[in-house]
């Protein structure tokens, strides 16, 4: 059965073929990596990262030294201390550790507050905690995705354990006013813990955990164009968490098992590059982002931008809804043209529900089904964007031509 599937995928790829040019715009789901990060990982595997950092021999100590050095790099990029960084194997694990780990360590407070557009790795563990007597409150957002601060204020009281919010949303790129959020929460009750799912903020906007006065912050390596399978959690000194998985401890108390040292080395290298070049990369990505948004919206009718425009949008994020055009079919059509993107359509999901983020900003179901998410990276060139702009209108037009619903006909909407 399994080998049949693998043969089918081989045949699928053969029949798909490869377009004359390829542009990879799906870094939301990983795919591009700094060559410097790969080099650093190979070096770590071959030399000073090959051992176990908690073992008492030369190779172990070398590996420990490597881990210590990379952790300093990671800590510096977010202005924490190295002792405050815990490694996991990705953003999903970091978010789970932050939320469930805090809940397990907190005997009294029972209310968890998250925004309604958080990543599922924040929403699902929070929902799971409802089964254990916690109360979950989801903060509504406006039509651009900014959280409702008045609603939030009402939810902060002596029973509130945690507020979790992403400074940059993974799907619609909205940048929250986290300074105002933290101030509001601290003013009302300074015992409330604040967690940022900062996977999409890291390397894209300035992120200083001390200045922001945040307690917990999640990071993901592949989102800064490092290797997959590496994440980190900033845990402010003095914040009590309990581990959520158990086993042989290595150098970390909160995450057992052998650290993925070469992966961490690659992550640190990629993060360092993003951190040092943040301003330059951000303004470069914003240029490509706005060109792509503006020209597509000009050249394709019945198109909506999801999330805000301008400085309140993450430099890398493009999310457009094409009415009368089903998103999954459009991802396949674009793939045949060498343009790789993802969609918030129900058809791409396990549960056949469209993106909860798009529904939360008030998009109708048909608008969510026609959504396409693209992420610009520092690796993209002007000519990549030109190529995408050439291919996009014909791709949307073909998918629309298959549909019984024709743009503009009243009965459709």
């Amino acid at each position: 059965m399994y080998s049949d599937l693998s043969r089918d995928v081989q045949k699928l790829l053969e029949s798909h073929g490869r377009a004359e040019k390829e542009v990879y715009l799906d870094s939301e789901n990983s795919g591009l990596i700094f060559p410097e990060a790969i080099d650093a990982m190979i070096k770590a595997y071959e030399d000073k990262g090959r051992g176990h950092p908690a073992i008492t021999h030369r190779v172990g100590w070398e590996t420990y030294e490597t881990l210590y050095g990379t952790t300093s790099t990671v800590a510096k990029a977010v202005n924490s201390r190295p002792e405050e960084i815990v490694y996991t194997h990705g953003g999903t694990e970091s978010n789970n550790l932050a939320i469930t780990g805090l809940a397990r360590a907190s005997p009294k407070r029972r209310k968890i507050v998250v925004s309604s557009i958080e990543h599922l790795s924040v929403i699902f563990p929070s929902e799971r905690l409802e089964e254990y007597g916690f109360k979950l409150v989801k903060i509504p957002v406006d039509e651009e995705g900014s959280i409702d601060l008045d609603f939030l204020a009402e939810q902060i009281d002596q029973d509130t354990l945690l507020l979790s919010v992403a400074p940059v949303n993974h799907e619609i790129g909205v940048i929250q006013d986290v300074g105002a959020v933290v101030e509001l929460v601290r003013d009302r009750d300074d015992e409330v813990k604040i967690h940022f799912d900062a996977c999409d903020a890291l390397g894209k906007i300035p992120l200083d955990v001390k200045r922001l006065d945040v307690d917990l912050a999640s990071f993901s390596s592949h989102k800064v164009y490092g290797p997959k399978g590496v994440g980190a959690l900033y845990v402010r000194e003095g914040i009590e968490l309990k581990p959520i998985i158990h086993g042989q401890l290595s150098t970390q108390r909160l995450w057992p098992g052998l650290e993925n040292i070469p992966g961490i080395v690659g992550f640190a290298r990629a993060l360092d590059l993003m951190h040092k070049n943040l301003e330059h990369y951000a303004s470069y990505m914003i240029g490509l982002r706005d060109k792509l948004i503006d020209v597509i919206m000009d050249s394709v009718d019945y198109t909506l931008l999801n999330g805000p425009r301008g400085s309140r949008r993450s430099p890398d994020n493009i999310n457009l809804s094409f009415l009368y055009c089903e998103g999954e079919a459009l991802t396949v059509e674009l793939s045949l043209k060498g343009v790789y993107v993802s969609s918030g359509s129900a058809c791409t999901s396990r549960v056949l529900q469209p993106s909860h983020v798009l529904l939360a900003i008030g998009r109708r179901y048909e608008e969510a089904h026609g959504s396409i998410l693209m992420k610009i990276t520092p690796f993209h060139s002007e000519s990549d964007i030109e190529y995408v702009l050439e291919r996009f209108p014909e791709a949307v037009a073909r998918i629309r031509s298959i549909s019984p619903l024709k743009p503009g006909s009243e009965e459709n909407v």
Partner: protein, 179 residues
């Protein structure tokens, strides 16, 4: 994005997505039917030309708002029913369509079900003004019900979104009044 699943389509699905057979509205169709809804993310239109004497389908075409599997399922179905009598076409089920496509991923079975739902709806429509044949059940079959359920779901979902938006605007108004 929502929770994902690998969708390793059979190459036949990709081929029919790329070059769909029998695509497009049939202007001189004897009968047509629509199933699904845009809010659910899939919708299929089926057009049939039927020989009045033999009750054989002489031509069939489709339009689809949906994923690649949906387009391929509708397309292959129109191929499969061409030349068949309406009775033979009625007996087609979603599994036949899935098999013909080399097996649909389980999460995409409903694409085949919706295609069959649209086809049976078209066949029922054909007999609307005529005496009903004995092979056609009075009650809707599961595939037809599935199409109905999707359409009902649309109403529920639309109401849910409306409710949320109303609650939000009430809240915004409330805050403004406070100020």
């Amino acid at each position: 994005m929502s929770s994902r699943i690998p969708l390793a389509y059979n190459p036949k699905v990709l081929e029919l997505f790329r070059n769909p057979k029998n695509l497009g509205r049939m202007e001189d169709a004897d009968v047509e039917a629509l199933a699904g809804s845009i809010a659910c993310g899939d919708m299929i239109a089926i057009y049939l030309k039927v020989n009045k004497e033999t009750e054989r389908i002489s031509a069939a075409s489709f339009e689809s708002y949906g994923c690649a599997a949906n387009i391929a399922a509708s397309s292959i179905m129109t191929e499969m029913i061409k030349g068949k009598t309406l009775e033979e076409a009625w007996s087609l089920n979603w599994k036949d369509i899935s098999d013909e496509l080399g097996g649909l991923p389980s999460v995409k079975y409903h694409c085949g079900i919706l295609a069959v739902g649209a086809l049976r709806r078209a066949i029922r429509a054909y007999f609307k003004e005529k005496p009903k044949p004995s092979w056609m059940p009075e009650e809707p079959t599961p595939d037809e019900k599935h199409a109905l359920e999707e359409e009902k779901l649309l109403e529920i979902l639309t109401k849910r979104v409306q409710k949320r938006m109303e609650a939000r605007s009430r809240r915004i108004q409330g805050t403004e009044e406070k100020k």
